[in-house]
């Protein structure tokens, strides 16, 4: 459903992504790993449309997205969370979720449930009830990450891309989020792409893992295969 063809991106003379070829299947749980600076965030910026001046093509359900700006891609069903949370600071947690529900979700995708109810459901799923009506400035670092993920879920996406949603979370909180994402994937069959440095989380979550290094895909396979690839070991551990 998501096809990336020969995608490259340079920042000035620096090549952040080169010639990426990737197909993501409907309902797939895909892990995206790679050392710092390998281009993971840049790749999802290209997919979500925040970066548009890339070379190559991004197709979604057969449609070429290249000319579509980010909000149109969001409306097509591509949603992403931000590695460094970018909450709407003048709003409460609940109001943060109402923005995508009001702007990105098509009326018939709401299935007759009001956007307020939808927001409350997501807030409940992510255990943010206590903070629902508080401004985001009152959130802890962890709650901030949960809000980031919750807001991405509120787009009601077909593809959800989470960019290090679990950094800094405790082991049990990681399990909670994993459970939420797996349930979401199994009940709604949405595709989830997870960028994560916590190996235990990606490996248990993903059906398939790809590893980026210096802007190239150096491994693509089941978690077991990828972790045993010499190039991956080398990328992570050095020579």
């Amino acid at each position: 459903m998501l096809e990336i063809k020969n995608l490259s991106k340079n920042f000035g003379g620096f090549t952040a992504l080169s010639d990426i070829l990737l197909n993501v299947e409907p309902g797939e749980r895909l892990g995206l790993i790679g050392p710092n600076g390998s281009g993971k965030t840049t790749l999802i910026n290209c997919i979500s449309g925040l970066i548009q001046d890339y070379q190559g093509e991004v197709y979604f359900n057969g449609e070429n997205l290249n000319s579509l700006v980010a909000h149109k891609r969001a409306r097509r069903g591509i949603s992403r969370s931000f590695q460094i949370p970018k909450p709407f600071t003048s709003m409460t947690v609940r109001q943060n979720l109402l923005i995508p529900l009001e702007y990105a979700v098509r009326a018939d995708d709401l299935q007759g449930i009001s956007i307020e109810e939808q927001a409350d459901k997501i807030i409940d799923d992510l255990d943010l009830n206590e903070k629902s009506n508080q401004l985001t400035s009152g959130l802890t670092q962890i709650e901030m990450r949960k809000l980031e993920l919750a807001r991405a879920m509120a787009v009601k996406p077909k593809v959800l891309i989470s960019d290090e949603a679990m950094a800094g979370l405790s082991s049990s909180e990681v399990d909670d989020i994993l459970k939420i994402l797996i349930t979401l994937n199994e009940t709604t069959r949405i595709t989830i792409i997870m960028i994560e440095h916590i190996m235990r989380a990606v490996m248990s979550f993903s059906e398939r893992v790809i590893c980026l290094d210096a802007g190239r895909i150096i491994a693509n396979g089941t978690p077991d295969e990828v972790i045993k690839t010499p190039a991956v070991e080398k990328a992570y551990l050095g020579e």
Binding site: G49, K86, M91, Q95, I99, Y103
Partner: protein, 325 residues
């Protein structure tokens, strides 16, 4: 405040302002009132972009001046009525606002701020060199004799809606101010307003959450500019004379931005409060000291508020309110 009560108060204020033109004799109040209301409308217009969206506009005077001069062009070409002049001012400023926005809003805030300043300089220079509208020397606007609307005499000594032009213009400015307040409150409480707030907080996040940020910014710029143009359109009539120096005066830009910052930028109440308090102070200072100190007053207030109360009067009031609980 419920919606109904809000509209009832607006309606009552409008009736009150009309009654005032009949029962208040001292013409000074209409003169001063007009000045304060003009500040208020400029502040509300600035706040649509500066407060709701967070894009600083230094070029309010450009849209104001272009509104004023397009009204002059309409007058010189078509002998346009006051009403037509006001509409012309609003439409032309909207057009220029849209164009400026379209060219610069893809860029980040600083570029937009610089572009608005440049627009001010460019428009003034153009007008100074355009003899058709009076050039640097300016031009006079002679109020029309016995204007009528739908067969009713608007200004005249007998059986007219208003005794003189000062009163008519004061009433019109009230009408414009109240209409602007309604527009601002509608924006704030709409999907549009929520989208603007999202984009002010984080443009990237808003865009990724489905908010068409460029379109919303363009809309806000156009709306803001058109309201500024409307105040410009009525201005030559009020002064009966207009020259580039008064139409494109940087004081206007400074006032338009200072009033909301002093009053509070979150809702329409902030600019209104800022304009009433500072506008009144300015009028008192003009009478008792000299109009030269006006900008000084604004400047001092602005510095004080930016440092000690960044969310303005409203922020201060809210703080004491909470403390009282």
């Amino acid at each position: 405040m419920s919606r109904n009560r809000f509209y009832i108060i607006i309606g009552a204020l409008l009736v009150l302002s009309y009654l005032a033109t009949h029962f208040v004799d001292n013409q000074y109040y209409f003169f001063a009132g007009f000045a304060i209301l003009q500040l208020m409308v400029m502040a509300l217009a600035w706040n649509i972009l500066g407060g709701y969206v967070g894009y600083v506009n230094f070029g309010s005077a450009a849209f104001f001046g272009l509104g004023a001069y397009s009204a002059i062009v309409a007058l010189n070409l078509f002998d346009a009525s006051l009403f037509a002049q006001i509409i012309t001012g609003g439409c032309f400023a909207a057009l220029i606002g849209f164009g400026t926005g379209y060219l610069t809003l893809r860029l980040r805030g600083v570029y937009f701020a610089i572009a608005t300043l440049a627009l001010l300089v460019v428009s003034e220079t153009l007008i100074v060199n355009w003899e058709f509208v009076g050039g640097a020397a300016g031009t006079y606007v002679l109020p029309k004799k016995n204007p009528t609307i739908l067969g009713v005499l608007v200004v005249g000594k007998q059986n007219a809606l208003f005794d003189n032009y000062k009163e008519l213009l004061f009433f019109l400015m009230c009408l414009i101010a109240l209409a602007t307040i309604i527009i601002c409150s509608l924006v704030e409480n709409s999907k549009l307003g929520r989208g603007l707030a999202a984009l002010r907080d984080s443009e990237e996040a808003a865009e990724s959450m489905g908010v068409p940020t460029l379109r919303l910014k363009l809309f806000a710029t156009t709306l803001s500019a058109s309201i500024m143009g409307v105040t410009g359109g009525i201005f030559p009539y009020y002064m009966t004379f207009i020259d580039p120096l008064s139409a494109f005066n940087l004081d206007i830009s400074v006032n338009a931005l200072a009033m909301p910052l002093i009053g509070g930028t979150a809702t329409w109440l902030g600019p209104v409060l800022g304009a009433v308090v500072l506008g009144t102070l300015q009028q008192i200072a003009t009478v008792t000291i000299s109009s030269e100190v006006n900008l000084l007053i604004v400047g001092l207030f602005l510095v004080a508020f930016v440092i000690f109360a960044p969310s303005g009067f409203l922020g201060l009031i809210e703080k004491y309110w909470k403390r009282g609980d």
